[in-house]
């Protein structure tokens, strides 16, 4: 008995060996001739600059990470939706308003999809937009100073996931609700109803936010949609310009255990929205204007860069049941996640995450099917087109769990396969896989600089992996996510570099550095500082009491504060330090920190004024100091503030150098 088993086992040995050999021979997996070759490709010599900027969403850190490519160097983190103690964003009096919502002050956000502004379908380096998924908002970040300039709240939405994608001339940035909620038929207000009335009461909305020349955002219109989950989006371009495409899942309209109950239908939908037509309807005053309170927070550059909040009361809603030609459903297998339009604008690619193929819709066929009214049904007044009549082709064997696709501009598409942990390169015309490469591990989005525009830079691809495990030195249970840089300039993809990324990058955008560098600000011109509490010279510094409010008008310059000795503050006072950085030199910020502050520090850029509120609770003398090593005498850059009992009669006095 025993011998037989051994024999059997021995017999299988050569097979195993052969299999091993075979897989060794086949698994190119983008291995390079040598790692030295890869190192050379990503090496950016000291003092040299990267070729591309990469803007990686920070996911649950709420911010936007800036990376250099191909080096993978982390250059900066732009605070957007989360308070940032690092520089006082969201803590300083000037920036608190950026966090205003109809739910009050929301100090955290979930940043998902950055999207660069475009002109003629190409990235132009003016702004980057990014959506907040949790409390629906869209931010606009200026690429001249890498600061958040504006945040607009999206009403009638819950979970702003399919956002923030721009049209080819940044006419609009779009948003769509990930979670449908019960909405009143008349005014779309959220309803106090049982959750299991989902099918009856729950609805979604898709919003189009107009962006003007200066970047100012306002919600032009919302489109009422069936109660599905809207997941991702991309605008059409070229021939499909004027349209936008949104994936949906949960066409089953389940409200519990979605992983099972929302995975039943073989096909869900891509919603094709004719935004040009919708904009026309809106201009003509179609639809209805309903209450839809939402905040627009913006940096007022006329007034010293102070953030202001504006409450907007109403919003225009268009109903596809009443307005013809607004929305069409493209049946798409299965629970599609990403939807991406190729650079020519002819093909619409869906990442059906439970699908065994990648469906590619043809825009021309879609138009034809609409013209011929080749519909197979209707959902909430929205015609459902016939799948076969709009299909360009299906990519067979695309890997398991296809999610997102980007393009190289040379006729190829690259799709991430989450479950099989690979990137698959395929020919768009032939819908045939031509190459594949393993990534580590489980890619979500991927990014090619300009890869969702009409003019991609098809040199590098970045895989944004969701699982890190053993790729770096371990840092306990929690780790940064892992990005991987892949060379796509040749026929075969080549893995070049791993680099850790902060938070959880979802989508990312890349742009040639030249487009961004030319408009860079190095400091704010002091003579243009319009802050009402700025002190643009040491002569203007002063301390003023107004009841229990004390305003300290303070300046910083290497290496002292003016004033640096302050007396006459009392317990129970509200002290506002309005600190103006008098420096006019690149990269000379000063910090301001005071003992016991319940908020954060200030990091004040040259020429800028920021305000920290401090409420002293104890009697004594408290130091404050500069937190940024600004100069050789940085350690000397400090001061004292004397706090007397509430009932004391200590007069306000102040000065420096007496």
């Amino acid at each position: 008995m025993k011998t037989t088993t051994t024999k059997h086992w021995l017999w299988s040995l050569p097979v195993v060996a052969l299999l091993g050999l075979l897989s060794y021979g086949c698994s190119s997996n983008g291995e390079l001739g040598s790692s030295a070759e890869a190192a050379q490709q990503v090496y950016v010599a000291p003092g040299e600059h990267d070729e591309f900027y990469g803007f990686f969403s920070g996911g649950y850190n709420g911010q936007l990470g800036v990376y250099g490519l191909p080096s993978g160097r982390h250059l900066f983190t732009i605070p957007v939706f989360s308070q940032a103690a690092v520089n006082g964003y969201g803590y300083s009096e000037e920036t608190k308003a950026m966090f205003q919502t109809t739910d009050g002050f929301v100090p955290w956000g979930d940043a998902h999809h950055p999207e660069l502004s475009q002109t003629n379908g190409e990235t132009d380096g003016r702004w980057v937009f990014i959506n907040e998924n949790n409390t629906p908002r869209i931010a606009r970040i200026g690429l001249d100073d890498f600061k958040t300039q504006e945040i607009i709240e999206i009403p009638n939405s819950a979970g702003n996931h399919a956002s923030s994608f721009v049209t080819p001339n940044t006419e609009y940035v779009s948003a769509a609700t990930r979670f449908s909620i019960p909405m009143d038929e008349e005014d779309l207000s959220n309803m106090d109803v049982s959750i299991d009335t989902y099918k009856e009461n729950f609805k979604g909305t898709i919003s189009f936010i107009k962006v003007n020349e200066e970047g100012k955002m306002n919600i032009d219109f919302q489109i009422m949609m069936p109660g599905f989950n809207y997941d991702l989006s991309h605008a059409g371009k070229g021939p499909s310009d004027g349209w936008s495409f949104f994936t949906s899942y949960n066409s089953e309209q389940a409200n519990t255990l979605l992983e099972i109950n929302a995975s039943k239908n073989d096909k869900d939908f891509i919603a094709a929205i004719n935004w040009e037509k919708a904009a026309e309807y809106a201009r003509e005053g179609e639809g209805k204007v309903i209450p839809g309170k939402h905040y627009r927070n913006y940096i007022d550059h006329e007034e010293g860069g102070i953030a202001k909040s504006e409450l907007i009361e109403e919003v225009r809603v268009l109903d596809p049941r009443e307005l013809e030609g607004l929305v069409y459903f493209l049946p798409t297998p299965k629970s599609p996640h990403g939807v991406d339009v190729d650079p020519t604008g002819q093909y619409i690619v869906a990442g059906g995450k439970l699908s065994t193929v990648i469906p590619v819709h043809s825009f021309a066929k879609m138009e034809e099917a609409i013209a011929n009214e080749n519909f197979e049904g209707e959902v909430m007044g929205i015609p459902v087109l016939n799948y076969d009549s709009i299909l360009h082709g299906e990519v067979q064997n695309p890997g398991l769990g296809p999610l997102h696709t980007e393009f190289d501009g040379n006729g190829y598409a690259y799709t991430t396969a989450f479950i099989s942990s690979e990137i698959v390169k395929w020919d768009i015309e032939k819908t045939e896989v031509v190459d594949r490469i393993d990534v580590y591990y489980s890619p979500g989005h991927l990014m090619i600089p300009g890869g969702d525009s009409q003019n991609p830079d098809g040199k590098y691809l970045v895989a944004l992996n969701k699982i890190t495990k053993d790729r770096y030195l371990p840092t306990g249970p929690e780790m940064f996510h892992s990005a991987q840089l892949i060379d796509i300039s040749g026929d075969k993809m080549k893995l070049l570099l791993d680099f850790p990324t902060e938070g959880e990058p979802h989508y990312a955008q890349g742009i040639t550095a030249d487009k961004v560098i030319k408009e860079q600000k190095r400091y704010y011109d002091l003579s243009e500082n319009g802050h009402p509490r700025a002190t643009t010279s040491e002569k203007q510094t002063r301390v003023e009491r107004d009841g229990n409010e004390v305003h300290v008008y303070m300046t910083t310059i290497r290496s002292h504060f003016t004033p640096d000795n302050i007396e006459g503050i009392k317990v129970g006072d509200e002290v506002y330090f309005h600190v103006t950085n008098l420096e006019q030199d690149w990269d000379v910020p000063h910090g301001f920190a005071i003992k016991g502050a319940n908020n954060a520090e200030l990091l004040i850029m040259p020429g800028e004024t920021l305000t920290l509120k401090w409420e002293p609770k104890k009697v004594g003398v408290f130091p404050f100091y500069c937190t940024d090593f600004c100069s050789a005498l940085h350690q000397e850059m400090s001061g004292y503030i004397r706090v007397s009992p509430a009932n004391s009669s200590t007069e306000i006095t102040y000065g420096t150098g007496q």
Partner: protein, 181 residues
């Protein structure tokens, strides 16, 4: 001769002298330009930044207001232009020579004055300065480069000075050619 005078009008539009500074923290350098009536940063913020650095060694603040010569210089050039034009119309060889002599004297005087200001700024330091290096003074070179602590200062004539030289050479040529007649 008229050309020699008129070309001097250009001096009003270009700096005469420039001092450039390089330091590890200033990879792109900074500097100041001295013109007939002003002293200013090569970029708007440079003068403020130079003064900011200088205060550590106790150097007086460099401002156009503190140097009265900048108010006189435009008139000197004005005088040279007007008198030169006068000589072109009515003058003779001797007047050209006198004009040239005055011009050269002014130039030498200007350079001596520039040296004295440099000496004053470099030596007359605030005794309370945070950075005091025994024996160290900070006079910029009149012409050429000099390492002053972490800063390498280079002082060189600028376009305005060369224009003055051209003007002088034209006047010299006028004088020379007219002598041969």
């Amino acid at each position: 001769m008229a050309v020699a005078s008129l070309i001097l009008i250009l001096v009003y539009f270009f700096p005469i002298w420039s001092i450039s500074m390089e330091a590890p923290q200033y990879p792109e350098g900074m500097g100041m330009n001295i013109s007939v009536n002003n002293i200013e940063g090569k970029e708007p913020q440079h003068l403020q930044n130079i003064n900011g650095l200088n205060h550590y060694i106790g150097m007086k603040e460099i401002t156009p207001e503190s140097i009265p010569e900048l108010k006189i210089m435009p008139y000197i050039f004005g005088f040279l232009i007007v008198s030169g034009l006068g000589i072109a119309l009515w003058g003779n060889r001797t007047w050209v020579l006198i004009w040239l002599g005055l011009f050269v004297l002014f130039a030498i005087g200007g350079l001596v004055d520039f040296y004295l200001w440099g000496y004053d700024y470099g030596h007359n330091l605030d005794p309370n300065a945070p950075i005091k290096v025994p024996g160290m003074t900070y006079q910029p070179p009149l012409i050429g480069s000099k390492q002053l602590l972490n800063i390498n200062a280079t002082s060189l004539p600028h376009i305005g000075f060369y224009i003055a030289l051209v003007s002088m050479s034209i006047a010299t040529t006028v004088w020379w050619t007219s002598s041969k007649k």
